[in-house]
Structures are given as C-alpha cells and as structure tokens.
C-alpha cells in the first residue's frame, strides 16, 4: 500500500513538474517582457491605431496616434474629422481629455469608455507589470500555442481593470489572450492579441502587437478591433507628455 501511495505521489509530482520546472522565470518577469510588446516600459515609442467597433449593428471607425514613454502615453485622434484634434493624455495614473475648441483639459478616469468596448486604458500603453500583481495559475494552449496562464490582481484601485486573467505565450513572451473581470468578479470582456509587427529593443528584434480584438462577454454582438501600424521606436522628450504643451 505504501508503495502504491508513493508511486501515486511520484506521478502527481511528475505531472506538476512542467508548471514548476518551466517557470524558471517569475510571473512578474513574464509580465514585464509581454508589456514591451504592447508599448509598456519602453523609453519612447510611437504607433498608429485604427479602431473599429461593431456596436449595436453599427460600424464605427477611428484613427489615432499613440506616443508612449514608460508609464506615460499621449493619444491623438486624427480621423474621422469629427474627432480630429482630440487628445488623451496619461501620466502615471492621471488622465486628461483635450477637445479642440474647449481650451481647458478635462480630468478623466481610466474607466471612461472611448468607442465600442475600448476604454481609455485600452488604447494607452500597457504597463501590467507596474499595475498588477501576477500569479501563475498554470499553463494552457491557446490556438495550439503553449501559454502561461497568469492571474493579474490590481496593486492599487486606480487601474482600469480590477482583475485580469492573461495568457502569455511561452515561446514568444507576448500576451495572446486576456479576460477582464469587474470588481464583483464578473467576466465582462475578452481580448485576443496578434503580433505581426516587430521593433528593435535592447539590441533585439521583438514582436509588437498588430491587432487587439475586444469581445463583449455580456452582449456578444459587440466587437471592437484595434489595428496597430507604423511602429517607431525613438526617444521622446518630457514635453510630449506635459499638459501645458498640448494646447495648440
């Protein structure tokens, strides 16, 4: 009997090994690496987003430019004309919305919705490593690709989402799927990520997000797509993210 128990324990331990053994890298490091592919923690980067939303059967499109540095980002809307010139500035956990003709910037919160299912926090640079405590839940394949399954819990109340379950590719170290939960624990939207862009970072060519698809889990007819293009890595001066320099 003792032999059988010992054998069972050995089998269980053996089955557990891949989780423990493969994760020689900590969940926080996995997250830091995956952030870089979504613009987080970089010294200066610029990209364009084409945002398309299917909302209530209506197709909505917007084009915007994002400049990011560390935890700061500046989003400028360029099309359609009705939103041209609008800006969204994020400095750490502070956010402002600037509208042409309304000279005073409006302080806003990360929760405010942009269009479709995209919130302000979705279009800004991603800094999950700074904003969330990561724990490894296990491993799971997404579309046949082995991934770490991480649970991200907000370190502070100021971030866009309270809890995220995040799948990060083991081989590419990029986030491929995310589930976003409300404070009450309800799943309210899910996102998939594609990485067909590449950037040079720290002497290496790393993948960079090319598409984010957000699906509403409450109303499944609603879908929002963010397509990323024209990625440029370059140093950005502090005044780019200074509120007083944004009023043209």
């Amino acid at each position: 009997m003792r032999f059988v128990v010992a054998l069972l324990l050995a089998v269980v331990a053996g089955l557990s090994l891949p989780v423990v053994g493969v994760a020689t890298i900590s969940p926080a490091e996995i997250l830091t690496q995956s952030d870089a592919a979504r613009g987080g923690g970089l010294p200066g980067i610029h990209w364009n987003i084409k945002l398309s939303a299917l909302d209530g059967g209506e197709q909505l499109d917007q084009e915007l430019t994002v400049r990011a540095k560390g935890n700061d980002s500046l989003v400028e809307f360029s099309a359609p004309p009705k939103v041209k010139g609008q800006k969204l500035l994020t400095v750490e956990r502070n956010m402002w919305f600037i509208k042409p003709g309304l000279r005073k910037p409006t302080p806003i919160s990360a929760r405010q919705r942009l269009i479709g299912q995209a919130s302000n926090g979705d279009v800004a640079a991603t800094n999950y490593a700074g904003d969330y405590q990561a724990a490894l839940l296990g491993e799971e394949a997404i579309d046949g690709e082995d991934c770490y399954r991480l649970e991200l819990t907000a370190k502070e109340a100021q971030v866009t989402y309270d809890r995220i379950v995040y799948w990060v590719s083991k081989s590419r170290r990029v986030g491929v799927q995310a589930e976003f939960y409300t404070v009450s624990g309800k799943l309210f939207k899910r996102a998939r990520f594609e990485y067909d862009n590449r950037i040079d970072y720290q002497g290496k060519s790393i993948p960079f997000v090319s598409k984010m698809t957000i699906m509403d889990e409450i109303d499944r007819s609603q879908k929002t797509t963010l397509e990323y293009s024209d990625i440029q890595v370059s140093a950005l001066p502090d005044q780019v993210f200074n509120l007083q320099f944004l009023m043209r």
């Binding site: 939303a53 909302d55 209530g56 209506e58 909505l60 700061d72 099309a79 359609p80 004309p81 009705k82 041209k84 010139g85 400095v91 750490e92 956990r93 502070n94 956010m95 042409p100 003709g101 309304l102 000279r103 005073k104 910037p105 302080p107 806003i108 919160s109 990360a110 929760r111 405010q112 919705r113 942009l114 269009i115 479709g116 926090g121 502070e156 109340a157 100021q158 971030v159 866009t160 989402y161 309270d162 409300t182 001066p237 502090d238 005044q239 993210f241 200074n242 509120l243 007083q244 009023m247 043209r248």
Partner: protein, 436 residues
C-alpha cells in the same frame, strides 16, 4: 433681417462652402520631409439663440444692458500649428458674421458685425533643452474644477458654461522650465488685454505677472501659483487632484488675496443714496474662493461631478439685502430718467468677484458617446444662500463623420431678489459644426 444682412450671410456661406476644399489640403507629408510639422483643423460653426433677459431692477426693460433676444453667429475657425526645429507657431484666425436683435421696452433694433481677427497665436522657441520661451495671444486655463477656476488670475470663466463660444485670448510672455518629467515652472506675464475679458470688473487693463509651479505625481497632480496685478493685489492660488480609483477623482482648487477689491453697497450722501465701495481692500484678512469636488465614472461610462464652492468675499445676508435694496432704488431712478443710476447699475453687474454670495453647490452629469453619437452634459449650480439656481443642458450629436448638431438650454430659477434671476431667465441655442 434686412436684405443686406441676408446678402452678407449668403456671401459668407458661399465663401465657407468653397473654402474648405482648398484649406483642408493636407501638406503635412511633404512638409515632414523637410522637417516641418504641420497640423490643421478647420471648423465652421453656425448657431442661433433666443434669450429671455430678466425684466427687473437690474436691467429695467432691457434698456441698460440691451441684451439680445435673438442672435445668429456664423464663424470660420481654422486652427494651425507649425513646428520646425526648436520653433513652434500656433495660429487661430477667425472670420465671423454675427447678427442680433435687441428688444427693449422703448425700441427694438437689429445690429450685425462682420469681423476678421486672430483669437489666438503663439510663437514658442526652445533655446535650450527643457527651456521654452513664448509670446502670443492665448487662452490659459488649468485646474480640475468644472464650475469655475478660482486659482486662475487671468480667466475665471473656464468656458464650460457655453462650450460653443470661444473665450478671447490674452497676450502673454512666458518662460517655461521643465526640470524633469514631474515638474514644470512657468513665469507668465499678461502684457495686454488682447481679446479676453478677465471678469474682474476692473475697467483698465493692468499687467499681471505670475509664477506657477505644476507637478504630476503617480496618483495626483497639482499646481501652486503666485500672481501680482500691477497697481493691484497679489493672489495665491492652487489646485490639487487625486486619482482615488479607476473611477473616482477628488480635487480642490482655490485662489486667495489679502483684502479684496470686491465692491460692497454702502449708504451715502450721494443723490441716489448709495455707492459701491471696495470696502475691504485694506483688510488684512484672506479672501478668496475655495472649491472642493469629486468625479465618479459609472460602469455605463457616465460621469457625475459634485462641487462645493465657498466665496469668502461674497455677500452676507445683510449685504445682500442692502444690495437688492440699492438696486431697486437705482432701477426706479433709472426708469425716472436719472442717468446717474446707470453707472451704479453697471457696477452692480460686476462686483469684481465671480459670484455674489458665499456658498454654492454644483453638480454635473456627463454622458458621452450615447449610441456612439450623442454627448450630453447637464449642469446645475445652486446658490445655497438665496436658493436660486441655474440649470444648463448641452447636447452634441455627431450625425456623420463631419457634422455635429448641438443644442443648449438654460433656465434660471429663484426669487426676484436672487442672484441667478438678476439678468437672464432663459436661453436656448441650436447650431451645427462642420469639421474638415
């Protein structure tokens, strides 16, 4: 409208309809090859409004203020900005046609205005990294408060009560220094009135110099400002905002002077029996406006703001009684053709402080992107001392990628001897905005 007026409107429309094709040409790509950054935004706005001025002692029969009862505005608003190396130019010329109808108890008449002007412009030069020098005509606004900006010595009105009217720019010389990403130090000199009205009620322009220090922290931002008006008082102001969660912001803003230039009613031996006096100018006590507020964004995306404002220079109950007694007397004198009352009634309209009494509550409900088309803002300001109030509703509907329709409605309530019923009872405005 007279025939000439109709012709002018027609001409303006023809000009505006022909113009955007050329103006909207985007040269930015070819200029970028030469290191020149160009941004342009061209808007055309037309609006029509009707107003119901209060018919009380402050403006008997609308003879004194001669406020319009109907107004039409057509404006071309191109915005340009150009950057080349360490230079940046911003230019906002305006072409405006305005018509209004004024109806007083004695006569009714039309008047119109055709004007071309530069509402804002600025040339900025960066002589060294982190140092910036600029001169130009600008609207300088800051701070988190929605009702008004007490920390700002240049503009009390923050432009939010009617977002379809542009504030006029004032002339500034500025030096900015950014020691790092968190701090900004600004030296600001308001060198000329420009097109701006500071709302102070001080008739002659006086240069105002200020030093302003802004910071942005991890969950907070704020600023501290010290300003000095030439031949006038010095002011200390500041604002602070805290991000408490992904949905909740808390903020405070204030501006204070030692003594106040605010005007108070005093009985006198003058023929009218009253004068306005800056009775507390030499007072050593601190006077000013303090505001605290919070904003919460609901899961639906709508945001509610609540603000409480205390105006320590505002009138007490007795001062308010004197004020309304005085104005009733002056209004009666004005009706009896005693034109000495005109000056005092004009002063009664602008008491060199932003609000009449001491305690105010402000609430705002902002819901944007309703059905991905409609922005709605509902604002209510209540004077807690005399229970009068003003409700403003603003709707902005994007009917297609280029066109917005908008509407604004304003209703004041309160007794005859209350702040918000002094000059304007009701107003509505409708219009459209084209963006190229």
């Amino acid at each position: 409208m007279r025939r000439s007026t109709a012709t002018a409107i027609g001409s303006a429309f023809w000009l505006l309809s022909a113009m955007p094709c050329g103006w909207a040409l985007d040269w930015s790509d070819s200029l970028a090859e030469h290191g020149v950054g160009l941004n342009n935004l061209v808007r055309v706005q037309a609006d029509f409004s009707r107003s119901a001025p209060s018919d009380g002692f402050f403006n008997p029969g609308n003879q004194l203020a001669q406020s319009n009862e109907a107004e039409f505005n057509l404006e071309l608003r191109p915005d340009f900005s150009l950057s080349y190396r360490e230079f940046e130019l911003m230019l906002k010329p305006r072409l405006k046609f305005a018509w209004e109808r004024v109806d007083t108890s004695e006569r009714a008449f039309d008047r119109d205005e055709r004007s071309a002007f530069v509402n804002e412009w600025r040339l900025r030069w960066a002589p060294r990294e982190r140092w910036f020098l600029s001169y130009g005509r600008e609207v300088l606004l800051w701070g988190p408060a929605m009702l008004l900006s007490p920390s700002n010595p240049f503009f009390t009105d923050n432009g939010r009560s009617n977002p379809f009217r542009e504030l006029g720019g004032r002339d500034y010389l500025q030096v900015l220094y950014l020691p790092n990403a968190s701090w900004t130090i600004s030296l600001i000199s308001n060198t000329a009135q420009g097109r701006g009205d500071d709302g102070t009620g001080i008739p002659d322009f006086e240069r105002t110099d200020a030093i302003k220090i802004d910071f942005v922290g991890k969950n907070s931002n704020g600023g501290l400002l010290f300003s000095h008006r030439q031949e006038g008082v010095s002011q200390v102001g500041g604002y602070f905002q805290l991000t408490l969660s992904d949905a909740l912001l808390a903020y405070a803003e204030g501006g204070y002077t030692r003594g106040t230039t605010a005007l108070y009613p005093r009985r006198s031996a003058a023929p009218s029996g009253w004068v306005f006096a800056d009775a507390k100018q030499d007072d050593r006590a601190l006077y000013g406006v303090s505001l605290i507020g919070a904003a919460y964004t609901f899961e639906s995306g709508a945001t509610a703001n609540v603000e409480y404002l205390h105006n320590s220079a505002g009138y007490s109950d007795q001062e308010a009684r004197d004020y309304f007694d005085m104005v009733e007397q002056l209004g009666a004198d004005f009706i009896r053709r005693d034109f000495a009352a005109v000056l005092l009634l004009a002063e009664a309209a602008n008491l060199r402080m932003p609000l009449l009494r001491r305690n105010y509550l402000f609430v705002q409900w902002l819901d944007t992107n309703i059905n991905n088309q409609l922005d709605m803002t509902l604002r209510y300001t209540r004077n807690l001392d005399d229970d009068s109030g003003r409700f403003v509703a603003v709707f902005d509907w994007a009917i297609n990628d280029f066109t917005h329709l908008f509407a604004l409605g304003l209703v004041s309530h309160g007794g005859e001897r209350s702040e918000f019923r002094r000059y304007l009872d009701r107003q509505w405005l409708v219009g459209f905005n084209l963006t190229f």
